[in-house]
């Protein structure tokens, strides 16, 4: 499975991850790794456990069992702060925005810029936020409105801007384009390619097969909490993936696509 061209060590390895909620087995013995400059798609039906797996990596949730290694060293991910220290940034499916605060306050929440005297440097945060948001959406206005008053797409843009502003090494994108229009979605696709070229590793959760085939190098499919297969994107087609997502198995006649003909 390992690409021979791949010389570097993995950025992240998640090994034997389990997550139980009472009787529910949300994630069951899942292992996955991520290399620099790689986009790995995490696919699966609703409730398959994709978000849980990613939240474990971002420190938002603790695993019931399993190990996480970053750059080869075993780490704990007890809090979101710890993940951020390891260079892991996350765009949450829920966006995780404080509705009463404006875009800049949300972008810098928990990592506020301060003046010499330790006061909030709102002017600088505003200017930086404006730059970061304009990169994703050139007509981003309402920077000073509480984000509750913004559209779903604008809110998503803030969540994306926040994740990339702090120069992540590992980026988790949980359905980052769910609320975006076509041009913003294209912008995010460009962004992903740019980050990839910079050597950043990306986990991408998406239900959009087009995006998955356009952007991902590898895909992992989850079904009822289990990893039912990890493939190089060249080895599978849309029907294979749909079969894995829905039934949890490949079509009976499957062989790796890149080795056919």
């Amino acid at each position: 499975m390992l690409d021979t061209a791949r010389t570097s060590a993995p950025l992240v390895e998640m090994v034997g991850i389990h997550k139980r909620f009472g009787g529910i087995h949300a994630v069951e013995d899942v292992s996955i790794d991520l290399y620099p400059g790689e986009v790995v798609g995490v696919l699966g039906h609703n409730g398959a456990g994709k978000s849980c797996l990613m939240r474990i990596l971002s420190g938002a949730m603790t695993a019931t069992d399993g190990q996480i290694r970053v750059n080869g060293a075993e780490v704990t991910m007890a809090t979101p702060q710890e993940a951020k220290i390891h260079g892991i940034e996350t765009i949450y499916q829920t966006l995780a925005l404080a509705n009463h605060l404006d875009a800049a306050a949300n972008l810098f929440l928990g990592r506020e810029l301060k003046t010499r005297f330790g006061n909030l440097d709102d002017a600088r945060m505003y200017a930086e936020a404006k730059d970061a948001l304009r990169q994703l959406n050139p007509n981003f206005k309402n920077l000073k409105d509480p984000v509750a008053q913004l559209s779903g797409g604008q809110r998503q843009v803030i969540a994306i801007a926040r994740a990339i502003y702090f120069q992540a090494k590992i980026l988790i994108m949980d359905e980052p384009t769910a609320a975006l229009g076509p041009s913003e979605t294209a912008m995010v696709a460009d962004l992903i390619r740019r980050l990839q070229a910079d050597g950043i590793g990306i986990f991408l959760i998406s239900h959009d097969m087009q995006d998955v085939f356009d952007l991902c190098d590898r895909v992992m499919v989850m079904n009822k909490g289990r990893d039912v297969g990890t493939f190089k994107i060249q080895d599978v087609n849309k029907d294979d993936i749909l079969s894995l997502i829905i039934k949890g198995t490949l079509p009976d006649d499957w062989t790796p696509r890149s080795e056919r003909n």
Binding site: P80, T90, H100, L101, G110, E112, K114, L120
Partner: protein, 337 residues
């Protein structure tokens, strides 16, 4: 042609919370005008200073409650904590400690009670309502137990300074030898309230902890995921509320020149009402010190004005109750639009 004026007009329309503050301010002014007509003694310098003095205690409590309410919590214990802080200060003064360190200890007592509230709420995951209800009973019980429910008096001249002293007091000795007060002076409690309100507003708007207080009340999970230390933020808010309750206790007991373990019953409700009238939302994420100060003065002016007009204490309660509901109702209507 027609679009431009519309746009400029929109610019001038205040945002939601500014509008609320504006209407609260108008209410306050309206009350002052109305009471000036009903009782001629209302709009005098002397009475103005009395209102300032009376509002200082509720105002101090309201600063702390505003912070707690913005985090999405509530602090029902401040009235009892105020009494306990007074009792501790009184007891140590009786034991021979000078007034200033004794009062400092009183404030620290309040801060400790507040910190316990914060720890119970975050570490034991008890809801703020229940945790501070418990503290309300514990602090009151302690205050009564430590004093045998009896007031502590004869605490010395110096103990009365904080509550009764004032800046710029001008007194003239008349020909007959009696003093005549030309200007009653600005009471220390009023100055203390102003200083603490400015400090509170500064912390809420200009400091990181203030930003975190708003974020926790707005969306606790989002704050946590963004790297805000939610527990620390809440503990900070409850500790500040407790310390301010301690400070309010010092002001009140000093004004009475005695420590009354029974003082401050139901003060928490006035302070909560002040914050709510001033635009704070019990759902969290919304509120301001300036709004709460206007709210505190609305309650203070109402009480004082109704008193002077000879309205009974019972009727006063009814009217203040209606004002609280009215303020929140108007806010609801505005938010729906």
């Amino acid at each position: 042609m027609s679009e431009l004026p519309a746009k400029t007009r929109l610019r001038f329309l205040p945002s939601g919370s500014a509008l609320h503050k504006f209407s609260a301010m108008m209410t306050l002014l309206l009350l002052i005008v109305a009471f000036s007509f009903t009782s001629p003694a209302f709009l005098t310098v002397n009475n103005g200073m009395t209102v300032l003095l009376q509002t200082a205690v509720i105002g101090l409590l309201a600063i702390g409650l505003t912070m707690v309410i913005i985090t999405g919590g509530i602090d029902l214990s401040v009235g009892s904590v105020l009494a306990l802080s007074g009792v501790i200060a009184g007891l140590v003064i009786k034991a021979g400690v000078p007034v200033l360190p004794a009062m400092a200890l009183g404030v620290v007592t309040g801060a400790i009670c507040g910190m316990v509230n914060g720890l119970v709420i975050t570490k034991m995951r008890i809801t703020p309502f229940v945790a501070t209800l418990g503290m309300m009973m514990i602090a009151r019980g302690l205050a009564l137990q430590l004093t045998g429910a009896a007031p502590i008096s004869r605490l010395g001249e110096a103990f009365g300074n904080l509550g009764n002293g004032s800046f710029f007091r001008i007194v003239e000795i008349q020909a007959n030898g009696f003093p005549r007060v030309i200007f009653p002076g600005i009471p220390y409690p009023a100055v203390l309230l102003l200083v603490m309100a400015l400090l509170g507003a500064f912390i809420l708007t200009r400091r990181q902890i203030g930003r975190h207080i708003y974020s926790v009340g707005s969306n606790e999970e989002a704050a946590r995921l963004s790297g805000v230390n939610v527990h620390r933020t809440k503990i900070w808010a409850y500790t500040a509320s407790g310390a301010l309750a301690g400070l309010a206790g010092m002001v009140l007991m000093s004004r009475l020149m005695t420590v009354q373990p029974n003082e401050g019953v139901m003060y928490e409700l006035d302070a909560i009402a002040a914050a709510v009238i001033g635009g704070a939302s019990l759902m969290g994420g919304v509120g301001s010190i300036s709004g709460s100060m206007i709210g505190a003065f609305i309650i203070g002016v109402l009480r004082n004005g109704l008193n002077m007009a000879g309205t009974s204490a019972f009727i006063q309660q009814i009217i203040i109750g209606i004002v609280v509901i009215g303020a929140v109702y108007i806010d609801q209507i505005r938010n729906r639009n």
